[in-house]
Every structure is written in C-alpha cells, then in structure tokens.
Symmetry: D4
C-alpha cells in the first residue's frame, strides 16, 4: 500500500466514511498471501522475529513447495519440519537447493543464519531421544545458533552426565530431552544456572502413555528454572531457546 | 394406515379389547421400514425437520445403497457422510445420480434444497481442519443453506482473522473449527454477536489426545455464546447451524 | 474521543509519525474502563449483543458492586451469576434495587428486557438439576426471553416427558439439563426439530466424575442437532439460546 | 482318584504324615489337565454351571483344537469366541463338526443344549452393534436359551423401540447393547420389570473413547435394575443372562 | 380416567379432531403427580415391578416427606436411601412410622414385603465395605428377599472365604462388595454357578481413585457370570438381585 | 482342633459321609475369629510371616482395641497404622501399654522384634515426605529391622545425596520416598546394587494428581531394580523390605 | 575445609587409602547444613544462580524461621512462597524484618536485589489470575527484575489486549497467566518476538480440571516460542524469566 | 588411568590448579565408552551388580551388535531384550554365539551365570501372559537364578493355583504375572511369606487400557508384601527378583 492510498484510507476514517475497524482490516490484508489452501503469513518475521516455519505433517509435497515459494520472496532460510523422506524427494525436484536432515526429518531451503558465539546445549537421556534432539538442533542451527550436542547421558549411568557437565554449564540456554520417566530434566536443572527447556519424548513402554508420564515429571520438577514444551516438540524448544540465545 | 383401520383399532381400545399401549405400538410400526439389517426411520423428517442422514462409516456400499433407496421413496436430497472413495465407487454404480465431495467425504443423491439468503460462516484455524470444514459445508449446502468459507485464519497470525471479520460478522450463525489448542473459538466468540458452534478437530500432536484438548478448550471458553459438538463432527455442527439459520 | 482528536491521530498515521498499530491501540483504549482490579469491557454489548455479565464466583461483594456501577452508566439490566446469599446481602446495601434469585444464585440490577413471543423451553431430568435450570431461566428472562420450564421428566419415567412434549416442541430453542448419565438429551433430540443445547450437570455419584459422564454422553449423542456447553453452565446455555431466540 | 487312594491319603493326614494342605492339593490336581501351554479346567462345569469357554483371541488354531479335544472328553457343546475366519479354517480341518457363526465370530462344536421356554431379548441401538449382539445370541443359544433379537431401535428414532416393546417386555431377562452415548439402556430400563444387562460397544467416534463413554453412561443410569459388563463383551452378558434365564 | 372419558378421547382421534400423539400424552398425564418440585412416578411399580425409591441425597427432609406421602397413597413399603441421621430426625416427626437403618443410611416406611424362600448372599471383602452392604441388604429385605450376610472375607485371608463358601453357593444370586483392588469378585465368580453382581466401593487409598480401580477390576474379571454396578451402589445391586431372586 | 477330631473328620471324608470340600471348610474355620464386625485372621503370621496389621483408617478406636485384644492372644508386637492422635487417646485408655509415634501416625502394642544386623535404608527427597518415611520406619523397626534414615536428599541439591551414598549403599534393601516428580528413585536406582522399593507420595501441587505423577515416574524409571508400591504406602514398602531384609 | 585438610584428603586418594568416591562425598558434605528436619542447600546460589527459596506449604512457621536463619548467614534476600497470613504472623515475631505480600502469599526477608533495566511483562487473562501473577511479580522483583503488570486483558474482550500491546512487546521476556481455556497464551504468542512463559491457573469451573485444560491448551499452542510451567506456578515462571532477563 | 596420572590430577586439585569438580569429571570419563550413538556404561556392573542390558526395541541390529562388542570386552553373559526374530537374524551373523529365546524375545551372548540353589517362582494367570513370563525367566536364568515356572493358574479356576501352591511357597521370591483384572497377585500375596513382585500385562480387552487396570489392581492390593513393576516389564521384575534371590 503506497503512502497515498494510506492517507486516503485514513481520511475516510476521519470523515466517518469508513469505520476504524474496516480500515484496520484493509491494512491487515496486506500482511498475508492467500494461495487457496492457505493464508501464508508474511508478517510473521516482523511480528515474531522468525519467518513462518512449514509444519510438514499433513501437508502434501506440493503444498510445501507452494508455501516455500511464497516465503522465498521475502525471507531465507526456510525451514520445514516433520518431512518424510518420500515427501522430501518430491520437494527436491521443485526446489533443488533444498537440503534434507534425515534424523531430524527437516528440510532447509537457503543458507542458515550466521551463528551466535554463545551456544545452546542439547542434552538427551538416551539414544532413542536423538531424532527429537536433531529436530531441535537443526532448527536452532538454521535460526543462527551454535549448538552443542550432549547425547545419551541419562540418570541410569549418571557419571556420563557429570563427565559432560562443563559443556552443559557453558551454554546460554539448555534443552533437555528425555522419555521414559524424564528424570534427567530435574537432575540437570539442579546443577545449572541457566534457563532450561525440557522436552518429553514419547519413548518408553508400559504406562509412559506416549510421553505423558515424562511430561508430567518435567512439569512437577523439584528443581527450579525449568519450563516445558509438548511431547516430542524439539522444534518448539529450539524456537524458544533461539529467542533466548539471541537476547 | 387408512382411516378405517385406525377407527377399528381405536374402537378396540375403547372396548378394552386392545390396550392403549398395544394400539400405540401398532401405530408406530407405520413409521419405519425394517430392511433386515436396519430399521429405516421414515418419520425422521417430520419429527426432526430433516430426513435420516446415512452415516457411512461401518456400513458397506450395499447397505448405503439399500437405505438410500428406501429414503428416496420419501425424500430428497439424501446425504451420506464418512464415505470413502472406494465405497462411493460402488454406490455410484447402483445410484448413478450420486455426487461425491472428496474433501468432505460426503455423497449427495438428489438436488440440494434452495439456499437461504442468510448464510452460515465456516471458519477454520488451519488448512488441516479443512476436511472437517468441508463436511460441515456440504451438509449445510445440501440442507439449503448459503455458506461462506473463511479458512486458515488461526491465532498464530491473528491479522488474517481481522481481515475477514466482516464476513464472519455478517453470518446468521458461525461455525469455528480448530485443532491443536482450539483457541480460535474463544477469540471469534469475543468478537461477534451471533450463535457460535465450535468443532474441535483431532489435528495436532503430542498431548492433543485426538482432539480432546481442543474440545476442553472450547467447553471452557471465557467467551459466551459458544456451544460445542464432538471432535471432528462437522456434520453435527452444520445440522444445528442449519436449524438455526432456517429459524 | 472527539472528532478532532480522531482526525489528528489519523493524520499522524498518514504522516508516518504514528504507526497504524499505535493508533489502533489508542482507539481501543476508549472501549474499556480500568478500575484497578479489572478492565470493565464497555464495548461488549456492541460487539457481542449483550453487556458484560458479572461472574460472581471468586469476586468480593465490593468488586461486584464496583463493576456493576461502571456498567450501570452504559446499560441495563445487569446480571451477576454465582452470587452466594452472603455476598448478595452486601451487594443489596450498596445497590438497593438489586434483586436476588435464590435457587439460581443470580442477582439482577435493573428491569429485564421486554419478552420475546417465541419461547425457550428449559427441560430437566430431575429435581436436583433445577438450580442449573434456574440459572439458565433467569439469564434468559433477563435477556428478554419468554421461558417455559419443564422439570423432572427424566427417562426413568419417560411418560412424564411425552406428557409435556407439546410444550417442548413449541419452543424456538430447547435447553436440556441432565446429570447422572445425561440420556435425556438424546431422547429429546430425537423428538424435536429445533436447536437443542444440552447442559450436563454435576449431579450423580460413583463414576459420574463431577458431570464428565453426562458431558460425554451428550457429546456422543446418536441424535443430531445437539450442541453442548460445559458442566453446570446454565448461564452459557441460556446466553446462546437467547441469541438464537432473538434471530 | 479311586476310593482306596483317597482313604490312604486321608489316613496319612490323620497320622500327621501328610499335612491337610498337601492332601487337599493332591485332590485338586485331579480337576484339571495340564497340556503344556494351558491347564484345562475340567471342574468348571461342576463349579460354574457351564464348561470352560475358549477365548480365541491370542490363541493359535492349534491351541484351540487341543483345548477343544480335552474338553470334548467331558462335555458338549464347546464354544470358542473371538475366532477369526482364518483360524476357523484351520480348526475346521481338525474338527470337521465345528460350525462357524461369521457375524458373531464364534465357533460351536457339538449340538446346542435344548432351549428354554422363557427367552432372552437382545436389543441393539444400531446396526453397528450387531456383531456384539450376535456374540451374545450364539452364546445364549449354545447354552440352551431361546433368544429374541430386537435390533436397530436406538433413541434417535424412539418409535422403533415402542413398536417392539412387547417383545422386550415378554423376556425373562433383557440384554441391551449400545455404542455412542449408550442412552438406550436407560430408556429400556425405565420401561421394563426384568433384569437388564447392558453392554457398551466401542462403536462411535470423537470422544467415545473406545466404548468408555457408553460404559460410563450405563453405570450411571438413572433407571434401576441395570447391571453392566465390559465394552463389547457380548459373551459375558449372555453368560450371566443364561444363568438368570435358567433359574 | 374412567371408561367414558377414554372412549371420548379415542373417538376424537378417530375423527381426526385429536392427533394420536396428543391422545397418548393425555393418557400419560394420568401416570404421575406433579407436586411442584417433582413429578412423582405413580406407574413405576406397574412398569418396573417396584415403586419409585426416594434417593435422599440432595433432597430436603420436607421433600422426602412430601414424595413419601404421595407414594403412600398407592404403595407400601416406601424406601428412601442416602438419608442422613439429621434428615431422618425431621422425617420421623412427619411420618412417625418411619424406621431408620443407621449403617445403611436408609429409611423404610411401612412393612417389608414377605420374604422369599431363596436368598441373596451379600459378601464383602472388608469391614469398611459394610455400609454399602447394608444399603443392599435393607433394600433387598424391604423388597421381600431373604438375605444372608457374609462379611469380611477378602482374599488377603482367603480361608475365611472358603469357610463360608457353602452359604454363598446356596444363594439364588450373589452380591460381592469390595473396595481397594476388588479381587474378591473374580475369586467368588470362579467358585459359584449363580449370577453374581459386583459392587465396587470407594474404600481405599493412593490410586484407588474413589472406587474406579475396583470398578475396572470387576469389569475386566477373568471369571464369567459377573455383572457390575456403579461405585458404592448397594441399592442398585440389590434392586437387580431382587428382580432375579423373584423370577 | 485336637487330633481325634481331625481323624474323625477325615474318616468321614474317606467314607463319603463328608465331602472333601466340607471337611476343608471345617478345618479353615479354626483359622480366624469372628468378632461380629470383622473376621480376625489368626493364621496370617503362619501364612505370611507377619501377624495381621490393623489399618486404622475408617475403624473406630473401639474396633482397633477389640481386634488388638484378639491378636494379643496369639502374637506380639501388634502394629496399627493410620491412627489419628484422637483415636490413639481412646486406644491408650483401653490398652495402656500402647505407644504412639506421632509423625508416623502408628501405634505399637508390645515390644518390637529383635533387630537384624543388616539394615534398611529409608531415603526421602524432601522434608514433606517424612511422615510416609516414618510410617515405613516404624513398621520396619516393629518387625525387627535395623533402619537408617537418609532424609531430604532430593535431586534439586544432588550433592546431599552423594554425601550420604555410602549409607545407602551399605543397606540390604533401600526404600526411596519422593513426591513431586519422583526423580530421586531413578537416580538412586542407578547408583546401587540392592533391591530398591520406591514409594510415591502425594506431596506436590499443580498436576501431581495426588501422587500419580510420581507413581508413573517410578514405574517408568530408566534404572533397573526398582519396584513400586501405592502412593503414600510407607507401610507396604516396609513390609516387603522387611521380608527381603530377613532372607 | 581449609587448604591443608583438602591436600591431606587428596593425598589419601592418591595413596589409595581413600577412594575417590569417599573423598568426593567428604567434599560435598561442606555444601549443606543438616538442621534435623532438613538439609539446607548452601551451594544452591553458586550452582543455580539463586539461593534456595523456601516453599512454605507444608512447613511450620518454626521450620520456615529456622531455614531462613541458616540461609541468612550466606545470602540475602530470602524468599518464602505459599505462606499463609497465619504463618507469617508467627514468622514476623522471630524475624521482624520480614515483609509480607498478601495477594502473592510471599514473605521476603532482606532487601530485593537491584532492578534490571529490561523488564518482565506479567500478563493475566482475568482478575482471578492475579494471585498467581503476584507470586510471579514478587519473585521477579525480589530477584532483581523490573516488572510491568498487564492484568485482565483476556480474549473475551481482546481490544483490552491490543491497547496494552506496546508494553508487552517492550519486555525482554513475557509471562502469560490464564485459567479457564487459557487461549490468551496463543494470542500473545502470535504477536510478540520474545520468549513467552505460560502459566495455567486452576481458575475455572466445569471441566477445567483444576487447571489441566489450560495447561493442555498452552502445551498445544499453535503459536511458537511458548514454554509452559505447572498449574498456578507463578514462582517457577518468574524464576525462569529472571534467568532469561539477566542474560 | 594409571596411578601416576591419578596422583598428578589430585595434586592439581590440592594446588588449586584444577577444581575438584573438573577432577571428578575427569575420573568419570573412564567409566564409559562413547561409540557415537551411545555411551556404553562400563561401570554398571560395579555400581549395580549387573552389566548393562541392551534394550533392543528402537535399536537396529547393527547398534545391538556394536554395543554387545563393547560390553563383551568386560563382561559375560550379555543379555538383549525385546529383540524381534528379524533383528536376531542379523545379530546372529555378526555374533554367531548369540542364542535366541523366541517366546521371550531375548538374545543371550555367552554362558549364563551359575544357578543359585534357591529359586524364583514365576506364576502366570493365563497362557497369554507367557511371553512376559519368559522374558522374566530368561533374564533370571541368565543372571544365575534357578527358576520354577507355574503357568496358567488364574483365579477363574483357583484349584489350579492350590495344586501348585507348594512350589510357589518354596521359592525365595515370587513373580506373579497377570493381565485382565490382575487379581491373582492379591490371592497369591495372601498365601505366601516371601517377597512378591507383580507384573501387570497388557492382555485383555474392553477397559483394560493396555494393562493399566491390572496395574492399578496390583498397586491397590489388599494383601501386603507386594511390589509392582511397569506393564509387561518381565525383565524389570526378574532383575529385582535376582537381586533379592542373591542376597
């Protein structure tokens, strides 16, 4: 909307010809692109600091490509999460510059932002938690964060944790990822003085209820300074951690 | 039952030869057709305003066809929901006039009723909620309602909602469809002065529990004027909305 | 905000001296009154059709009085729900015109709106559901609706329901209130052709889980045309019903 | 155990050479046959009135055949529930006299017991509930009960129920089978003066939670005289009903 | 309604002056008495075999008295359950013939029906289950059943059960009442050949969830012939048992 | 039962005059005392290794005294758990030798059994867990176990745990008691080579669900060698631990 | 521990006279004070950045005082949360410098740390959420953070939120506190580019399940950058926010 | 780490050149081997009494082989649980000495430890519980325990249990494995004087909730001396039982 059009619109409000509400709506219509099956949010980066991330689950490869193309006109890099290898194959044809991170199930289009000096430590209890951790790591790296991976240091062999404690303590923000009973978050939380974001995973059996047990453990932690995201939500943890790491 | 048979029956009641109860049962038997595997309800339209709708899940294509044929003798159009493309293929052979709405997974046999002037607005939070929205839209249109679709205006990019607010406010009744945390229902509810029917969807991950989280969000909304239907029940929302829209 | 101030503000937007956003916020500040512990919403009636209703639970009598006084400057009548007899005693001193409806636990300040010709039928399964029904009834009457009460017609003695069916069928919208297993909603839903709003109540014992069982029954009803509100939420049901009844 | 062995054993107890406990265990060993993977209970019929029924789920066809052969030496007919068509194919080869009831997923080996004069009414809400109903019906018939089937009379079209009420009222015991919200049990319970056994089914969608909603509805019924069995447990309902019908 | 009035009414139906439905409603109105706060069901005994039982919880003493007086005109004895000692005090003044059973929290007005020869065995796991058992026992006795009490024979000391097994086996129907883990129902169910109604109680601690654990145990019993009622519902178990015992 | 009576009884079985079952029941009747409201289990110690423990909750002081007196004739010491100070006051009058442990809410009548050399370590996460720990400690000491208390060593300050690790490692069996998220069990389990019994406590807030969260944490522990008892069940943990410690 | 003692200890490890483990334990014992009922953690500030906070619930006033006195020797200010007015009265006598924040139910002993320039915005949906918000605010202020309170801006009157958006956007970290359906977190999350910590509150009725519904809403938010703490845990949110604000 | 290196390290601590913490970490690094995707815990046997067991679910055959090879350098035998036949095929090629136990789904590499004289009794309710029982049995045997299998003795035919009671009573520790309602644990618990570890299984249908019902039954058992492990966790039960059996 050029300046003149804006002045005109506001004049109409002032004259009572247009309601303030309608004028506002009119302004807002500039901030997204309707591509039929979706309204791509072009103001997201301005409003939230990061461009819209494409959540790949439940979207076809074609839809991912179309949204990516709209976003490309405004921003880079573009991140798509929960992308299966099959979908990536189809995306790759349309967008040859797309890169795939298999374990993270993420696709990145465009160069990652320059890395911070401070880093995010990503800590897992077991090897089964690694896919969630990698989703977090790729998200963080794409958004310009240095990342340190500290994997498989669960409390069943707590000496492994102590051996890596210096790396964890050196981070600006720590992500702890654990399934089963999720006790690692409390233990790490009691040993550091940085914000800790806990991610429960759906790893486990018996009564872990798809990660609910680990989630409840983390929410009820006796250690302070812990906040929690949804089960298996490595992306969400990294998104918040990146905001903190860039402060 | 012709008049004479009716008189006879009642005479028997008056004489004490037939109990009032048996007579009533006798009358009731006229109101449905027993086709072996089902009692097709012929009085539904008279009693409820709309003919029986065929719920396709768990029924074979043959059963759908047989029920449709009984209903056809009394009413039109006939709506069948939750019909897979495979089942529709088989239905189409027996009932060539049947039309299929792929995204809605609905089949309609016969012409839709004439449209109302007032319309129902169907609003979704995301693109993944569209199948439920289309089930609602096709149901509403089949039952003679004008429909306005307002899709992908969730609160993560709330300016998209404000840009379409005039369409929503112009409706006689609004259906809001959202998965994940379902917050859109509360936000829309706080902005309109028309009845709002909220439909939680099973879209989400982690602890959305197949739509239960969105359902609970909608039931506990801080905004007034919101009523709720079951998870993914686009049909049910449209059925109630149609009743309201025809008042 | 007088017209000149408005013009000035918009001019600043046009000049780029004020962002559109700040201007919008400035306009929005006119629409509520900050009384320290609450922001009383003065635009509610314009936006939602009804003025803000005071939810009395968790508010002191003093807070109720203060909010009521702000609202009184703009609207009448004012409704406060979930008001205990003790609180009402204190409210009555400050606002002598306030009237108390004991069974409904509601207070009304000012004359009810003129009644509609069409009516809302409020149906309960048992006598224990009456307090919730009365909350609905007083809400509806305050908002200008004619109400017909059909109480204690639960399915354990279904002939009581049939005896009152004509009254129920004559309504423009029906509210069904039931605890225990909540089956009444399905039965009534199968017999009428008007919108039905179901209210589960927390009445019951054993595994009724404070109304959750009745809620789930109502959400899963095999009858169509039923929408549901939260447990014991007579107010919410009446609010929606009133919107429908006034269409 | 012949009489002499018994006397000897007891003499040992009297002499203190064998403890009473060991003697009792020795006696108990006569009452079942250890076939390696199972201890077939030969005293079941004496103790419980009916021979052991083979629960087919989780057993191989070979295991079903082996158990059936042990039972055949003592009793007839033999009933196996939850038998898939594939398993039945294999069973049929080893036991050619075996008969299969497809909808009920039951196999019967041997002639059903002579039928009672009084009958069990089996009532379903919908057509989707029929497989559970047929499991109940075949069980009841195998155990020597006359059965009346009253299917698809759910409360959404309640006149269908009233039209069949005389058949239901004539039964000695009534089984009501319903999914979704399960309201039919309450309605029938309010209309009859015979024991009613309610069976919730897993039929439904949204928040029916695999039958849990119907189960809770039935347990919380406002009508008296209703007892409940587990979700989809047609067999269990028929077993109890048969006990009652034979009193 | 006398015969003439009936004839007249039916004549109107035959003439088309009155619809069959309205006539039916008219007939139905004879079957209950509207006393303002309740519709007392006068046809319950004819329909269900037993007169309406007054559920005392949530009713005032005055309401209990009023309902009892209406029922007294038609039936005897009258049973009121869940009556606190305080309420009974007030009931006693108005109805001096009322008798109170303290442990059962039941009031009976009028002489119990003559006892059956066959008896109902009421079995409890512990002493804490006795109040529920007594509610069952008084209900059964009031409805004319002989009762045998077998209390405190839980599986922690299973020899106590075996010592009373002959009494249990001699019953026509058995009620088993247990809290905590509710295992007694399965054990008794495996030892008898009569219908068994299981009542979970809310007795327990930790994760018994107000009786839900015992309820689930009983519903999932590996023994056949068990049906279940709601938590603490001694009355409901006895009601069904009485129906069975009178067959 | 003297020897002669026993011989006679068995002779009757051998002769077929008495069934083996009746004879067994006759023998079993010797093993408990019926005191009206309870069947005191006199064979418990022989069968289970420990005499019956009186669960004080839900029993009156009089009942506790009566049961204690029956038990006193056979065994010592007698333990009663969940005894409020008020009840103890009344018990003390009847049984002056009774001692009260206030924090544990336990009463002991008679001298504790001689202590083992090996000991049970009882470890708590916080000070709020101490009442449960003391119930465990008094139970263990009464049953003849040496106990080491290691309290308030939760993972929020994990150095406190390491400082006491030698005491924990020296035990023959370890009880870990924790509320909130219950992570301590996993950490201790990873550090010792002895059986560990975990007790979740109801200490916490928000979503600890009365101890359910800690319970689930402990059941899902990534460390091996952990078994779990019910929420707040200090007694049960000590009972099992005592069995293990006496092996 | 002076340097000489340290050298001696390590020499013993080097010689094999003391194990490394025992030496470590010895060192760790310096880091807390055992005051009988609690091990006060003196290394918490060094390890976690903040001294131990006293959780007042379940502690007596005497215990609070004793712990505070130990902490006072090392640090200031000291914060105690969940302190009732009654307990504070007793604390005040022993520690006259203690100050009480009634709405927050917090006690502070000693001067708050110097305030940051950047601030934490604390946003609530309603007035009922204010006690949780004040617990957060007092915690944050005690730990040296500037705080901006933005109360009662829930989505039912969303214009109130937009009017305060500039204050929220100006914060370094935002805490959003909401009960009922908790939708405010998603809406704010969609509008800002700073870390957001969401606190569900137990405010609500019907099926809000003590805050669980709001908790699930927040965990499933469609907006990114949101992490969550336990229900009503204002303290925990402020603790994390303070860590972030001090980065 | 050789002695000289150790001395040097400690000297540095004594001089203040290295912190005690860093020194400790340095020592801890010796206790595990980082093989990229996992940190194999080499100190497990020393710390916990048994070497690390490989949990096969979610690991590839290659990962199992690699971990096994690291462990082989230190210990024997090596146990891997939850290994599918397909995975075992691949493992067998790399480790020809590996043996597979099909029903238990376990692989053992190396000779089992010498058997104890005392034995563990493993008791199941049904034949469907046998896979869990075999996982327990193979675990126990691999860890050097004599095992007695007592299968299919559930309470529906309780005489089967009594016939094997002597074997159960002769054990040093008893594992009871049951699905459905899990009542067997309580019954066995009431009959023995040895520690009992209960394992709920996911066997059942209807409302057994994947084993949750049996789990809750076992946790709430009225019999003492019972501790519980997670659903289907035969390995965990055997691990604890082995610890007890070796005392």
């Amino acid at each position: 909307m050029d300046k003149k059009a804006l002045q005109e619109l506001l004049q109409q409000v002032a004259n009572g010809k247009t309601s303030a509400e309608v004028a506002a709506a009119s302004l807002e219509k500039q901030s997204f692109t309707d591509i039929g099956f979706a309204n791509v949010d072009l103001a997201r980066q301005k409003r939230n600091g990061y461009p819209e991330v494409i959540y790949g689950e439940g979207k076809t490869a074609e839809q991912i490509v179309e949204i990516a193309k709209v976003l490309q006109q405004q921003t880079a890099p573009i991140l798509a999460t929960r992308v299966s290898p099959e979908k990536f194959g189809a995306v790759k044809i349309a967008l040859p510059e797309a890169i795939y991170y298999k374990e993270a199930r993420c696709t990145v289009i465009g160069t990652a932002l320059p890395q911070t000096k401070s880093y995010i430590a990503i800590v897992t209890a077991g090897t089964s938690d690694v896919p969630v951790a990698e989703e977090a790591a790729i998200t963080a790296e794409t958004f310009g964060n240095q990342v340190e991976r500290v994997y498989d240091v669960g409390v069943a062999g707590i000496q492994r944790l102590f051996a890596r404690l210096d790396v964890i303590r050196g981070a600006k923000v720590v992500i702890v990822i654990a399934g089963m009973e999720g006790a690692l978050a409390s233990v790490v939380g009691g040993l550091i003085n940085k914000p800790l974001i806990a991610v429960p995973t759906s790893i486990g059996y018996g009564t872990n209820f798809g990660g609910l047990t680990a989630l409840m453990t983390m929410l009820n932690s006796c250690a302070s300074g812990i906040t929690v995201v949804n089960v298996d939500n490595g992306f969400g943890a990294a998104y918040s951690a990146s905001m903190i790491n860039h402060l």
